[in-house]
């Protein structure tokens, strides 16, 4: 027992610190493992067919993708069909915009809220044209209301 208490305290502190850091590291690893890295879901960037599949001046609902595809004189744009209030599917009424059947939220043709409990406009997703000439929607990226894809 040659060491005095101060030396021992250093050793103890070192041990405690090492344990705390190591333990926290292991816990962090555990916590990170809970975050999924791959998803068994439909991809969020997906092709939706060729431009000529959509008649001019039309609104097409893709029910599986919960998405409205607009083709206007200016080009293509895509608006989500998921009500921003509580996630029901909205219906499109020609000339009146979108109506949510669940809680009565209404949106105009651009997806902006006109009435009801919804707080945010319907998201408008980025669209592009693939090398193969297919329309591609990317639901991870939203775009301005005036976005139009010329194809």
């Amino acid at each position: 027992m040659s060491e005095g208490p101060p030396r021992r305290r250093v050793v103890l502190t070192l041990g405690t610190a090492g344990l705390a850091a190591g333990g926290l590291g292991l816990l962090a690893a555990l916590a990170r493992s809970v975050v999924p890295d791959v998803l068994y879901e439909a991809p969020r960037r997906f092709p939706i067919g060729r431009p000529e599949d959509y008649p001019p001046n039309s609104v097409t609902l893709l029910p599986e993708r919960r998405l409205f595809v607009f083709r206007t004189a200016e080009g293509f744009h895509a608006i989500s069909a998921i009500c921003t209030h509580l996630g029901c599917n909205v219906n499109h009424e020609e000339g009146h915009g979108f109506v949510c059947p669940c809680h009565g939220s209404t949106y105009d043709e651009d997806g902006d809220v006109t009435n009801g409990p919804a707080a945010w406009p319907l998201p408008r997703y980025a669209m592009s044209l693939s090398r193969r000439g297919e329309l591609v929607v990317d639901t991870r990226r939203t775009v301005d209301p005036d976005f139009r894809l010329r194809a």
Binding site: P5, L14, T16, L19, A21, G22, V38, Y40, F46
Partner: protein, 673 residues
């Protein structure tokens, strides 16, 4: 002593902070400190290990510069990439490292960033097909080793070589061979040729069965000595024998021959009067009828029918007479047409073949009564080896299928022992290869015969077998023609087609042989009716260089008119126009185009030109103009792999060329006497 430090501790209040440190023995404190630091090190090591995962390193390298060098868009996603194909039950994470795979501009980048070569991704979109469905390997893996780029323990599907990948094409492409597969197509053709479906059930190939000669009345046909020799070594008699070597022991051969030479079935021999037989005239008939289109003599000639040089050792002239007179009576399934010969012609021909052509070897006297015990033993061998799978014989079922079903053959886990013993890597392809090369090499008591495949042939068959996988391919993924019944020609036309066995060489609606390059489906749009009628009666070769020429069947004028009428009215393609404008200006322009494109390099016009394509003199009497235009515009459409190049002509150019070609006069010597 650890406990010694306990007692003096904790008396006063003055050492609050130092309390713990003072009470616990220093040795334990030190151990604690060391262990804690080691724990921290372990935790750090775990994080570093994860952080330095291969795919992360590749992704950062890709982001850093590979794209800048090779011109990719660099807009890649972070994290493990996954292509999930629920219907194939596959998850492919290959794109986590192969980041440039879909970018053509990355074609020359080093791996793993290289863009995919070839046109395949256009037809097989990665998001719909993934990677491992074609390439093999472990799609779930995120390291080079675990992805099974090289064989990996506990993973049965290492990445396939270029050749073995063709097997994976065949899993979905079940009916037709996809373009740019060579081994698969060859393997499938070999499997059809060796009649694998006779013994094995093969998905999608059931209709391909070929019948081998019927064995009823064999005693009247062949000599016992020949039969024994044949059973011992089929390839010794006929090099390209479709029948395999059953590796029979001499006593088995004796027994089987005794059984086969028993009188089976009701076969009556024709009574022939051989006086006045003229082999010389028979030889003339033999040549004029072009028997060598199908038969070979001393290895020269067609491969569709048996070699005739040694046939004298096998059959007698009496049987030959019966055979030539009406082959269909003896072998209802034979490919041989019933030529329209009179009895004298048949006699002379038989005499020529049996005496002049083949070395005349007298047939052994038929054994009157083969030993019944021996014959019974032979019967057992006949049954056990499934001979009746291919050969019909009275009293036996038509189809045996004694072999195992081949569905799932490509997936089967194999016994490595025989391969290891031979110093061969015990992989599934190698096992199949060894088995196909010689079944006794993997199982000494195998019933399957040795088909005498050359090495590359065995490899091709292995590829075809590997394509047969146990896991069901989702129906939407299979490219299989709708089950189409074989074409059955009807009525009078049908009777003639059967008599003359047109479908032994020609194809109609996908049914028939491939010896002739002339597909009959659209022959009416292609050729003029009067030409067809004339050609059938007196076939002349349009392509001088071609060895196979249509045999001279002695078809009568009435029959020819009927056939030509049917072909010209029914066998037409509506997409082909009937007539195209042909004026003098077009002819002149056509001549110019003809010279510019060097057509004469392959076609004869006048007295000069190549023998590669058909002689074009007098083609106006032969070809329909609409067809000629359609052909020139897109030859590959009508005949894939043709030697006619696609010059990329405009319609106007094709019409002009047609006008010129069809205006060429016939040569005088063109019609054979």
């Amino acid at each position: 002593m650890a406990v010694a430090a306990l007692t003096p501790a904790g008396k006063g209040q003055g050492h609050r902070r130092a309390g713990l440190a003072r009470r616990i023995p220093a040795r334990l404190l030190r151990t604690f400190a060391v262990l804690s630091v080691v724990l921290l090190a372990v935790a750090v090591a775990a994080v570093v290990q994860e952080w330095r995962a291969e795919w992360r390193q590749w992704q950062s390298r890709f982001a850093e510069g590979e794209t800048a060098v090779h011109g990719g868009d660099g807009d890649t996603e972070q994290g493990i990439q996954q292509i999930w194909l629920p219907d194939l039950d596959r998850v492919d994470r290959c794109t986590s490292c192969h980041l440039g795979i879909a970018s053509p501009e990355m074609k020359d980048a080093p791996q793993p960033f290289r863009g995919h070569s070839g046109p395949w991704l256009d037809s097989h979109r990665p998001d719909r097909f993934g990677c491992t469905a074609c390439h093999g390997g472990q799609g779930e893996a995120t390291t080079y080793r675990d992805a099974a780029h090289q064989p990996l323990p506990f993973w049965s599907e290492p990445m396939a070589s270029r050749e073995l990948m063709e097997a994976r094409c065949g899993t979905c492409h079940q009916e037709r061979n996809p373009p740019s597969t060579y081994w698969l197509a060859r393997g499938r053709a070999l499997m059809t040729d060796r009649n694998c479906v006779a013994c094995h059930e093969i998905p999608g190939r059931d209709s391909e069965e070929v019948r081998a000669p019927r064995l009823d009345g064999l005693a009247l046909k062949v000599s016992p000595a020949w039969l024994r020799g044949w059973l011992a070594d089929p390839r010794g008699y006929l090099e390209r024998s479709r029948m395999g070597d059953f590796r029979l022991r001499p006593e088995e051969i004796e027994a089987l021959a005794a059984f086969l030479l028993q009188p089976h079935g009701v076969v009556e021999a024709d009574e022939v009067d051989w006086t006045g037989a003229d082999p010389e005239r028979g030889g003339e008939i033999f040549r004029a009828s072009r028997c060598v289109t199908c038969h070979s003599v001393n290895g020269r000639g067609g491969t569709l029918a048996p070699e005739l040089a040694h046939v004298g050792a096998k059959v007698g002239r009496d049987w030959l007479y019966s055979w030539i007179r009406d082959p269909h009576r003896l072998q209802p399934d034979t490919l041989m047409p019933r030529f329209r010969f009179d009895d004298d012609q048949v006699r002379d021909l038989a005499a020529y073949i049996a005496e002049d052509l083949a070395e005349p070897k007298g047939l052994d006297a038929n054994q009157a009564d083969p030993d019944p015990d021996l014959a019974a033993e032979g019967r057992r061998i006949f049954e056990r080896r499934g001979c009746y799978s291919c050969h019909e014989l009275e009293g036996f079922p038509v189809r045996a299928r004694i072999g195992p079903k081949l569905a799932g053959e490509g997936d089967r886990i194999v016994d490595p022992a025989p391969l290891v013993a031979r110093g061969i890597e015990p992989t599934r392809p190698n096992w199949l290869f060894t088995k196909v090369s010689g079944p006794e090499r993997v199982l000494e008591t195998a019933r399957m015969p040795t088909f005498g495949f050359a090495e590359d042939e065995a490899a091709a068959v292995s590829v075809a077998l590997l394509s047969l996988r146990a896991q069901d391919v989702p129906p939407g993924r299979i490219t299989r023609d709708p089950d189409r019944p074989p074409y059955e020609p009807q009525g009078e036309f049908g009777a003639l087609v059967r008599r003359y066995r047109c479908l032994s060489c020609h194809q109609i609606a996908g049914t028939g042989g491939t010896l002739s390059t002339v597909v009959l489906d659209r022959i009416g749009s292609q050729l003029r009716r009067d030409y067809i009628e004339q050609f059938i009666q007196n076939p002349i070769a349009v392509r001088v260089g071609l060895a196979e020429r249509m045999p001279h069947l002695n078809i009568t004028a009435e029959e020819a008119a009927l056939l030509a009428g049917y072909l010209s009215t029914v066998m037409v393609d509506d997409a082909v126009e009937a007539e195209v404008p042909r004026d003098a200006a077009a002819v002149a322009r056509g001549k110019e185009l003809f010279d510019r494109h060097g057509c004469q390099a392959c076609h004869i016009v006048g007295d000069s030109g190549g023998f590669v394509g058909p002689d074009l003199n007098g083609s106006g009497q032969r070809l329909q103009p609409g067809w000629t235009v359609a052909w020139l515009l897109d030859p590959e459409r009508w005949k894939p792999g043709t030697l006619q190049p696609d010059h990329g002509l405009t319609r106007e150019e094709a019409e002009a060329l047609t006008a010129y070609t069809l205006s060429l006069p016939a040569r005088k010597a063109q019609v054979l006497p």
